[in-house]
Amino acid sequence: MNIHEYQAAELLETYGIPINAGKVATTADEAALATQQLGGGSGKVAIKAQVHTGGRGKAGGIKLVGTPDEAREAAQSILGMDISGHIVHKVFVVPAVDIAREYYLGIILDRAARGITIMASSEGGVDIEEVARETPEKIIRVTADPLLGLQDFQARMVAFGLGIEPQLMRGFLSIVRSLYDAFVGSDASLAEINPLILTGDDRWLALDSKVTLDDNALYRHPAFDELRDANEEDQTETRARANGISFVKLDGDIGCVVNGAGLAMATMDAVKQQGGDPANFLDVGGGASADQVAMALELVLADPAVTAILFNIFGGITRCDLVAKGILEARTRVEVNVPMVIRLVGTNQEEGRQILSEAGITTVDTMTEAARGVVEASRAG
């Protein structure tokens, strides 16, 4: 689960990390008021778009202003902005800070090392992925022993690797440790401070924070429920998740209903190979019931862009007869006004095809056939 910058900052603050405290505003007036309160009209503040996507700086989603009036104006222009498909509903107003140095400090779930890795760089404030690609030697990496957790000597290796001076060491080490504690304590898969800055008067400050939470561990953090931002979630995706269906909205017009994530991706790829554009990724899950298949069809049909639907089911645990019944069931619940191409093989495939054929629905044998068929049907429609 993604959370906003201001939420990440609040989370890190509870672990003792010094953050640049600010105020959230949902209207231009609130932003002006926040500016008044924070700077008293004297210092500058930054107005920062809160969206679950990167690149807001380049998109004009961050503005530095000096007065409440300027803040109102800036917020006005940022609120409602579309950044990579995300509409800005909130801005974070924070005091501008005197920056002496900028660092990157991040903790990630390291798939290759099968552990938790601390990454740091003295190239802070820039896109760390770019640093990783262009100048990997500028990134310090230390992987914590999964069972021991981060040891002090490892935190020191990060600090010495960055050339932190002895008098600044204690504060830096404390931030590294706290960030690790925050990562583990909140079951994050990413916790990053970019930039972590040293101010002109030698204070450490987390200027921008990002935290991604592990969906599978949310059950033990009920308080995180309120960090969820409905504005940032596709309604259909939310509804799918509640029904145990994996759904991702895409830009095309061919709806896909598939069982299994790998097969669902392969099906999207097959549609694309035939010149079509998938409208979604959809995995109905393992032992999909008739009811779940019906729900999946409803979810796909909820997208007005869909011009044809491809069912691709390889029955293993999933029984083809139940899938067939689900399709018929769905037709009684929602109006299916687009053509459907159905591929149904595996466990109980004959029974499934029989059910569909009796209802006047024909099926195809291979995935390629199905993909070709659905693209043709979409064009015809």
Partner: protein, 309 residues
């Protein structure tokens, strides 16, 4: 031969009284797998499809000597089940469970590794040696004993390819689902090593998907260590970045984990990558035939040399 499991595998089912555990125990028994015991805390003395249930893995091990455990308990409890199996000395642990908190899995993996056991999964369909043992949730009937070893991150996509291999007459030695999570116990490389060493396996199919760099690492390994023909397939060529495609591990993030990178790496390692799942079987058939021809030609060579000598 085959890898990891065969007719001598003695299977313990952790979470046997749950819905999934009970259902798939039936499926495994039906296939002829030796399921010797089940564990559900508090249910000792019961039986599921005739399989005795114990409170703890330690008891089940003492009574029935299993050498494989398959885990069906819900995700939050799966790491504990993995560690219980590990500490009871079971050398091969198959974890079907999904939705495991990843930080718990990191610890469980480290523990299993330190103990020298092997974990397959989590969030995987299990594995099958056709005609000998099915230890997982795959439909048994689509498999056929044969010449190709298969390793995959997916479930149904694997069935698609297994079916094509069966239809083509190639069949499978063993098919292993390594799982779709970010942290998995057994990687492509581990299974490639086993297939390379298995005399019955003539060719290897490797089914990858977006996310992580396991396929790239496997490609590097293949280049150095695998002499048998490998055919690949990567799902998710059209997947957008930043979106998790069902599997927790199937996500393009930070510009890495794309299908294009994986396909390029595999190609560079001499692995043919199919465009469609079913095509895998055709490519493998062609490679094995070509290899046979080459072998027949080279087999004549010594005679000529001998003649010359």
């Amino acid at each position: 031969m085959s890898i990891l499991v065969d007719k001598n595998s003695r299977v313990l089912v952790q979470g046997i009284t749950g819905r999934e555990g009970t259902f798939h125990t039936g499926g495994m028994l039906e296939y002829g797998t030796q399921v010797v015991a089940g564990v559900t805390p508090g249910r000792a003395g019961k039986a599921v499809h005739g399989v005795p249930v114990y409170n703890t893995v330690a008891e089940a091990v003492a009574e029935t000597k299993p050498n494989v455990s398959i885990i069906y308990v819900p995700g939050p409890f799966a790491p504990d089940a993995i560690m219980e199996a590990t500490d009871s000395g079971i050398p091969l642990i198959i974890c079907i469970s999904e939705n495991i908190p990843v930080n718990d899995m990191v610890k469980a993996y480290a523990h299993v590794k330190a103990a020298g056991a092997r974990l397959i999964g989590p969030n995987c369909p299990g594995l099958i040696t056709p005609g000998e043992a099915k230890i997982g949730i795959m439909p048994g009937y689509i498999h056929k004993r044969g010449r190709v070893g298969l390793v995959s991150r997916s479930g149904t996509l694997t069935y698609e390819v297994v079916w094509a291999l069966t239809e083509s007459g190639l069949g499978q030695t063993t098919a292993v689902g390594i799982g779709g999570d970010p942290i998995i116990g057994t990687s492509f490389i581990d299974v490639l090593e086993l297939f390379e060493a298995d005399p019955e396996t003539e060719g290897i199919v490797m089914l990858g998907e977006i996310g992580g760099t396991d396929e790239e690492q496997a490609a590097a390994y293949i280049k150095e260590h695998v002499t048998k023909p490998v055919i690949g397939f990567i799902a998710g060529v059209t997947a957008p970045p930043g979106k998790r495609m069902g599997h927790a591990g199937a996500i393009i993030s930070g510009g890495t984990g794309t299908a294009a990178e994986k396909i390029a790496a595999l190609n560079a390692a001499g692995v043919e990558v199919a465009e469609r799942p079913a095509q895998v079987a055709d490519l493998m058939k062609a490679r094995l035939s070509a290899q046979l021809r080459a072998y027949l030609c080279s087999a004549r060579m010594p005679f000529s040399q001998h003649d010359a000598a």
